[in-house]
């Protein structure tokens, strides 16, 4: 089904929540409430987002989290990568030598191209755009493939 993980989904929900209060610091507790998610889950996700420099954290009372950058400067691709690592459709599209079949399977190049294309598409979508609700069915996105 080519899904993002639930954790990634949650991460984007939390990021969207952090957007809209630019600069304002919100505790994990407050973010959990606002996003209708469980506190431990939100905490876990936030820690990953801090590690990858998407979110700034402040300790102590009245501490919490805020976006490290403007929502326009943060891409969906970055959030996905923060939670689940590099955007790649197959093992072999991450780097050479990860797949045992590599010697006998000629698909690596094509998987890399496809993975790269998808990664670029997600890079082009900013958190700010993501936060903008869209009625469904929305105007479809246009994607061109295999035109080098």
């Amino acid at each position: 089904m080519l899904r993002i993980s639930k954790m990634t989904d949650y991460a984007i929900m939390v990021m969207v929540e952090l957007h809209g209060l630019r600069g304002e610091v919100l505790s994990a507790h407050a973010l959990a409430e606002r996003s209708h998610l469980e506190l431990p889950t939100v905490s876990k996700v936030l820690k990953l987002l801090v590690k990858t420099d998407l979110v700034a954290s402040y300790r102590g009372p009245s501490g919490g989290y805020s976006l490290e950058r403007d929502a326009e400067e943060i891409s969906v691709a970055e959030i996905i990568a923060a939670i689940e690592g590099p955007i790649a459709m197959t093992e072999c599209s991450v780097e050479e030598g990860l797949c045992a079949q590599e010697a006998v399977c000629g698909l690596r190049g094509n998987w890399q191209r496809i993975s790269l294309a998808i990664a670029k598409a997600m890079e082009a979508v900013s958190l700010a755009e993501m936060a903008q609700p869209v009625k469904t069915p929305a105007a479809p996105l246009h994607i061109t493939t295999f035109n080098a």
Copy 2:
């Protein structure tokens, strides 16, 4: 990491193998050998591909499998969908009512747009193109997003 499942990966390997001998019927056993995969796995994948009308099957001795259509007319998207269902990044992008958060989360429309974009990109890649080996790093694909 946004991966396709291994089964899907195998499915494409098998389909690529079936291509190159247009029309020729190959047994699951022969396909397993050629693709360097285990017979039970290949059988399982082939059954799914038959069910979704991508592959034709013939019973009895000298039976086996062949492509149902020309490789140019089969898209990678179809193969993915055959093994793992509709191409969708989140539950909510498949159809309404699958995600409990739907009422409080405004991301559905955007996820649908992104999923659709990726699906279209994969539709544009044919099995024939996939079978054509590409040296890495290949020329990157160009994808445009959020330009309705």
